[in-house]
């Protein structure tokens, strides 16, 4: 009986350690956005501009909207996990009379840090002639990438370089899916200490809107130390289990 307890404690301990290593936190991780356009920046914690709901033990759903000073409306729905991943959709509508350049960062605090990572990501979207002018245009800024995956604020992967998407029909739309990385096999990434994020940089024509669905996953590569600790606990529980069994056998023999 004692061996069962020992085994249970060891299992729970190992599980908790492994879980703590993998999950690290049980509260909503800080998820922030920063929208810059025409030299005006705004944003903050996404939870201050909408709602956050825990939908799974380590997953939170952020929904919200933001109205920028430059005639821009931004709305989002993002599922995040500090394990970590960021996935969701946002829409930007340029309600001004001029084409605008936008720089939009989504950033998620992760816990615990990743000693090494495996990365995957993707972006897809829809451009809409929202004002019925007969055209809509989405381009990269100076030929750069529209989507950039960030690790600790540094670009680790990028998609949609030299993007040029247009709508030529009044009230029309065009959908685009412009590449991915790490599918089906994740690519190796750097150590990540504090945040992962996705940066969007694009120019959008006046009166039109664009929606982006995006994914960025940074799977942790289990650290050797975690393996060692889990292995040690496993051996310890096995040893105690054996001791317990031999004691039990001995007592039975005595009887």
């Amino acid at each position: 009986m004692q061996s069962i307890y020992h085994f249970s404690y060891a299992s729970v301990g190992a599980s908790l350690l492994c879980a703590a290593t993998a999950l690290g936190t049980v509260s909503a991780p800080p998820f922030a956005f920063l929208l810059s356009s025409e030299g005006v920046a705004g944003g903050g914690l996404a939870s201050d501009f909408g709602s956050v709901v825990q939908v799974a033990p380590t997953e939170w759903l952020y929904q919200g909207s933001y109205h920028g000073n430059t005639g821009t409306t931004l709305s989002w729905i993002y599922l995040v996990d500090p394990d970590p991943f960021i996935t969701g959709t946002f829409t930007v509508t340029n309600e001004s009379d001029l084409a605008r350049d936008y720089l939009l960062d989504f950033s998620l605090s992760i816990s615990p840090p990743l000693a090494a990572s495996l990365l995957s990501g993707q972006v897809s979207g829809t451009l809409t002639d929202s004002n019925g002018s007969g055209s809509a245009l989405l381009t990269s800024i100076n030929g750069g990438s529209v989507y950039s995956a960030l690790a600790d604020q540094s670009v680790v992967q990028a998609l949609m370089a030299n993007a040029f998407q247009q709508v030529t029909a009044a009230n029309g739309t065009t959908s685009f899916s412009d590449g991915s990385f790490g599918f089906p096999v994740p690519v190796s990434g750097p150590a990540i200490n504090s945040t992962i994020g996705i940066r969007f940089a694009f120019s959008l024509s006046a009166g039109d809107s664009v929606s982006f669905s995006s994914v960025f996953v940074a799977n942790p590569i289990p650290a050797p130390a975690a393996f060692i600790v889990c292995g040690f606990l496993g051996l310890e529980s096995r040893k105690r289990s054996r001791c317990g069994s031999s004691r039990a056998n001995t007592s039975l023999m005595r009887r």
Binding site: L79, T89, T91, S124, T128, V215
Partner: protein
């Protein structure tokens, strides 16, 4: 003098006059129009039922912006929609929006979402519009988006005037995004009047842990009645005759 001036009047000056006359004729009350009286949003889902929240903000005298959300049983729908009631200058109106539907429940769910505006417009009308979207599987299992009826439809008084994405069947690997593509159309004639509403409807089933987003527009315009067309033709012929003189 007056005749001479007419003869010397360049064509570029005459054409706008004819166009202005035409525009005045088309926008006459006999041709009808759309009066914005409200905004409608409904969500039916197997995930559960609740009343959507919808905040409507005037952007101009004829244009409105609506932001809304619906949540029940672990599923959610959110939208931002811009609507323009009848514009007497362009003789048109539109509703366009972006929708995001998320199924965080443990099983596949059905969704039927209707967003639009209430009011009336005297027919016949022509309708143009478009829809595009993405399907995102944020679960660790294979995700699917299906629809055995048209996934998207433009409705006039609840009756489909145009439908797109018929018999949709899309699969996505974990954390994969599938583009649903896009559909554009124009010049669809609705012979009848819109008595109560013009709206967009989405119908589909979506697997657990998935998200679908759609961008959609529906614009409607009055069809000039035969009398107006005859007057336009008459104005054109009159202008031509004057130029010849």
């Amino acid at each position: 003098m007056g005749r001479k001036r007419l003869i010397q009047t360049p064509m570029s000056t005459l054409l706008p006059r004819a166009a202005l006359l035409s525009g005045l004729l088309i926008s006459g009350p006999a041709l009808g129009g759309f009066s914005l009286e409200g905004f409608t949003a409904s969500v039916l889902s197997t995930a559960g039922s609740s009343t959507p929240t919808n905040t409507v903000t005037p952007v101009s005298s004829t244009t409105w912006s609506a932001t809304g959300a619906w949540t029940a049983g672990g599923a959610s729908v959110s939208w931002t929609d811009n609507t323009q009631g009848w514009n007497p200058v362009t003789n048109s109106g539109f509703t366009n929006g972006n929708f995001v539907v998320r199924n965080q429940s443990a099983s596949a769910q059905d969704f039927s979402i209707t967003i639009g505006m209430t009011g009336s417009a005297a027919g016949p009308l022509t309708i143009s519009g478009s829809v595009g979207g993405q399907f995102l599987n944020a679960s660790t299992a294979l995700g699917s988006l299906t629809s055995t009826v048209p996934l998207w439809a433009a409705l006039v008084d609840g009756t489909p005037a145009r439908s797109e994405f018929n018999n949709t069947l899309v699969f996505a690997q974990p954390f994969q995004i599938i583009s649903l593509g896009n559909a554009n159309f124009s010049g669809v004639v609705v012979p009848t009047s819109a008595a109560s509403n013009i709206s967009i409807r989405l119908n589909f089933r979506m697997s657990a842990g998935s998200e679908a987003s759609f961008s959609s527009t529906v614009a409607f315009q009055a069809v000039p009645n035969p009398g107006a067309v005859a007057l336009i033709a008459l104005a054109g012929a009159f202008g031509r005759r004057r130029r010849r003189r």
